[in-house]
């Protein structure tokens, strides 16, 4: 094989495949584990690790055709006493089907040998040493159920030393949720704390009273909730907290615990389901959909300029093909002359040619003006040009009319003006201004009708699309689009 005779082409499916399955993250996790555990037989270890299959979880989402990787929860919940850690931890466990690990549950675990030691210490009323805690937690977390279902560690690293020991043992939580609230509130809250001895759930006399009368009767007041004890614990907490904050500051999120439980929980859940930015190489393949006049070409041009990717406008592409007098261009010309829409297969071929070129494949592309309805979208998928970010620009009807009907162009200089937003500087230029016949109201309405008819199908087809309000300043819209591109795709639960 001669590289000059037949240059080597990377098949275009490899990029989307790597993205879809998160190969970079997968391999990164595997190598991390290798480095942490340092096994004697690395290949065997890697095989076992891959078989365990729990990096980002291959839990296939029910909502869409493509696989939605759901994160396996590895969460740490830290906070002052009476901030609601146990409640939040329990709710998160129920929602995400994870295992709750906390100092109390660890002491009650029957299956670990270290618990006996720990209990011995407790009976002697001594502080359980941090090393023992760490070993205990490590043992618990290496259980199969924790590996498969994920874990929520509650109230554990209480100071910097414990946090370090956890990290040295290789246990790295993916998200750390920190609850904070003013001390006064916490002291008062602690006075109303009640515990159900059977289910270990924590209730409150004012905020979280159970509805079941049986449960109500069972509730007991836990020990250590008097004002002095709470304030002592709070002092300890405030002393140790900055250490923990520094250790975990990159993956931490603070949530105000002085709100109703449901709010705290929803914030925590939303945070826990976000992914952190991965270092995987990312070729953006962006698709803009929207009514005429919503600013697709403008945004596409801005993005292409900033991130140096290829900007492809479908109409422009066809015109270029006609101008270049290529074979396909010859086919397209008669349709252009008659003003009829070009048939899908020709458009698709031209588009496929353009998108398969090297510059598009290596640096990514931003496409606008192409799939206008469901058939075209399906055909696009069939030639395996799947976008990884889709944006729907929304604009109300009046704004569209306003933007389009008032467009003018100066035939002498070629400058484009708008009567309201960018008026012509001098009256003689204004006198010259002409309107593009396709910007007449009738034509606009026709285009819009077609667009509204097809938009629903397209929205259903691209489920992971972002909706952007295009009725704002272009730079605002641009920043929003940028943030959506840069951040990892949000998970749908």
């Amino acid at each position: 094989m001669d590289a000059t005779a037949r240059p080597l082409r990377v098949p275009p499916e490899m990029g989307p495949y790597a993205e879809k399955h998160g190969l970079f993250q997968l391999l990164q996790n595997m190598v991390e584990k290798l480095l942490i555990h340092k096994p004697d037989d690395p290949i065997e270890f890697m095989i076992t690790h891959l078989k365990q299959d729990n990096d980002d979880g291959k839990v296939y989402g029910k909502c869409c055709n493509s696989d939605v990787l759901q994160l396996i929860p590895r969460i740490c919940i830290v906070g002052p006493p009476a901030s609601g850690k146990t409640t939040i931890a329990m709710w998160l466990c129920k929602q995400l089907d994870a295992i709750r690990v906390s100092p109390e549950t660890l002491l009650l675990e029957e299956l670990l040998e270290l618990t006996k030691e720990a209990r011995a210490y407790k009976e002697r009323e001594q502080e359980i040493p941090n090393a023992l805690w760490t070993n205990l937690i490590q043992e618990r977390l290496s259980n199969v159920d924790c590996i498969k279902r994920g874990w929520v560690l509650e109230g554990f690293p209480e100071n910097r030393e414990q946090a370090w020991m956890l990290q040295s043992a290789g246990i790295a939580p993916r998200h750390v949720v920190v609850l904070y609230a003013p001390d006064v509130v916490l002291i008062e809250r602690n006075l109303g704390k009640r515990v159900d001895p059977f289910t270990e759930e924590v209730y409150h006399t004012t905020f979280d009273w159970p509805s079941d009368p049986l449960v109500q009767q069972r509730l007991v007041e836990p020990e250590g909730v008097s004002e002095q004890e709470t304030s002592k614990k709070l002092l300890d907490y405030h002393r140790n907290f900055p250490g923990i904050f520094q250790t975990f500051h990159k993956i931490l999120k603070s949530i105000n615990a002085d709100q109703p439980c449901a709010d705290v929980f929803s914030q925590a859940l939303a945070y826990v389901q976000t992914r952190h930015r991965s270092a995987a190489p990312f070729t953006p393949r962006i698709l803009f959909c929207g009514p005429p006049g919503s600013g697709k070409s403008l945004q596409a041009a801005l993005i292409a300029q900033k991130y140096s990717i290829v900007n492809i406008c479908c109409g422009q592409l066809l015109k270029e093909a006609v101008a270049d007098k290529t074979k396909l261009g010859e086919l397209v010309k008669p349709y252009f002359d008659n003003g009829c829409p070009v048939p899908d297969n020709i458009v698709l071929k031209i588009l496929a040619d353009r998108l398969n070129r090297l510059d598009c494949m290596t640096s990514g592309w931003v496409l606008h003006g192409f799939p206008r309805d469901l058939d075209q979208a399906e055909q696009l998928e069939r030639i395996r040009m799947i976008p990884n970010r889709v944006f729907f620009l929304n604009l109300p009807y009046e704004s569209i009319l306003e933007r389009l009907a008032q467009r003018r162009i100066d035939p002498a200089t070629g400058e484009r003006y708008h009567i309201t937003y960018k008026p012509a500087p001098s009256p003689d230029i204004q006198a010259r201004l002409r309107q593009n016949p396709k910007d007449l109201e009738g034509k606009i309405e026709m285009h819009l009708e077609i667009y509204y008819r097809n938009i629903k199908d397209l929205e259903e087809f691209y489920e992971n699309a972002f909706s952007v309000n295009a009725d704002q300043d272009p730079h605002v819209v641009f920043e929003y689009i940028e943030s959506c591109i840069i951040k990892p795709l949000p998970q749908k639960s």
Partner: protein, 411 residues
């Protein structure tokens, strides 16, 4: 014996009540009752009538029939000719059995009438019949023969046996030959040699023909043989040619086949080569892609491990874990020492102040100056002079100051 005039009818047998009720039970198969009424459509299975009884020797019978009552004795035989159950007379009328399940009222009526008539006839006959009057009382009637020659009246019938016998059979003799009588006259004649014809002359044409024919035949045969030989030769030649051609054709075919196989093989090889090339190129592409994609893997792994804290700066950790606590302890110790020093100083000051106060109190009476003494004690004295000269206030101030220093160092 009954004479004609009575119609014998087939009786029904078992269930019948009639004149034949005394007949012994014989096995009879009943024919299906056929009713006159057309409405009766009951089709009973058609069973044929059959009758059989064991063969019996005829018993001796008397020569003469007894008086009218005697036929009432049970008869142990039956003669078909005189069987009352056989239908006699015209069978064109619709058959009807006398003792059917539903006797037709008409029939019944008719039978009753007949019976009545029979009875009437009988009565009439008896009426007309002249009989001998009854014997007078004390006397008896006896039958007497009055003919010329007496006849022996016996019940026994005179039976005579007669036999006859034929001669034994002889074999039939064979039939004699049939020689018909000779008719006509015999006559004879004789032909001598040379009288009829000359053999040599006569034979010539025949011979000629024969020989000619034979030679002709021979010629023909030879010609035929020649022709056959020619044909064979021709055929042989043709076969040779044909074989040659066949061989040629086979050779060509073989060649063609080899070519084809060769082509196929070459094509397959080429396809394999292409496939390999494709695979290789794919592998290379995959490798290149993977290399490019994962170029940043190791650095990213290390940076993430560093972020998660697994790779920590040992110096920093060491400083935090070992050095700082030691430092803190040392600072604590130093501070404690300082505090100790200060408390010592406090107590010294207290003692001195007490003594002084005592001395002052004592000297108060002699009105000694208080302010001159306090200069010696500097700060502590000034503090004590601001507040009242109570010992506890001095101590409180001191301890407050040292206490506020402690939390600052412990942080």
């Amino acid at each position: 014996m009954r004479t004609g005039g009575f119609e014998a009818r087939v009786s029904l047998g078992n269930g019948c009540r009639g004149e034949n009720s005394q007949l012994p039970r014989r096995r009879l198969v009943l024919p299906p009752p056929r009713c006159k009424a057309a409405g009766m459509a009951s089709a009973q299975p058609a069973r044929t009538y059959s009758y059989f009884s064991q063969p019996r020797a005829l018993p001796a019978r008397r020569a003469y029939r007894g008086p009218a009552e005697q036929p009432e004795e049970p008869r142990r035989y039956a003669n078909l000719m005189y069987d009352r159950r056989v239908v006699r007379g015209s069978t064109y009328a619709l058959p009807q059995l006398p003792w059917g399940p539903q006797p037709d009222p008409l029939e019944v009526q008719r039978q009753e009438e007949e019976r009545r008539k029979a009875r009437a006839r009988k009565r009439a006959k008896e009426h007309l019949q002249t009989r001998t009057p009854e014997p007078v009382e004390g006397r008896k009637h006896i039958d007497v023969q009055t003919e010329l020659y007496l006849e022996e009246l016996g019940d026994r019938i005179i039976e005579v046996d007669v036999e006859c016998q034929t001669d034994a059979f002889l074999d039939r003799p064979p039939t004699p030959l049939f020689i018909p009588a000779k008719t006509g006259r015999d006559a004879a004649t004789q032909i001598q040699e040379g009288e009829l014809f000359d053999f040599d002359i006569e034979v010539k044409p025949m011979l000629e023909v024969l020989v000619g024919k034979t030679i002709e035949q021979a010629l023909l045969e030879v010609m035929e043989e020649e022709e056959l030989a020619n044909l064979r030769a021709h055929q042989y030649a043709f076969e040779e040619l044909r074989n040659a051609e066949l061989a040629e054709v086979q050779r060509l075919e073989e060649q063609e086949r080899r070519h084809r196989e060769e082509k196929e093989r070459r094509k397959r090889q080429q396809a394999q080569v292409l496939q390999k090339q494709k695979e290789t190129s794919e592998k290379i592409a995959a490798r290149a892609f993977a290399q490019c994609y994962l170029a940043d893997l190791i650095p990213s792994v290390f940076s993430s491990l560093r972020e998660s804290g697994y790779f920590y700066d040992p110096v920093e950790r060491d400083i935090e874990m070992d050095f700082l606590p030691w430092l803190m302890e040392d600072v604590e110790k130093t501070l404690e020492k300082k505090i100790l020093g200060r408390t010592m100083l406090d107590s010294l000051i207290r003692v001195v102040v007490e003594k002084r106060l005592d001395a002052f109190d004592q000297a108060n009476t002699s009105q000694a100056k208080v302010s001159g003494h306090t200069e010696v004690f500097g700060q502590a004295d000034r503090a004590s002079s601001q507040v009242s000269s109570r010992q506890t206030s001095v101590q409180l101030n001191m301890s407050h100051q040292t206490e506020t220093q402690e939390p600052e160092t412990k942080c």
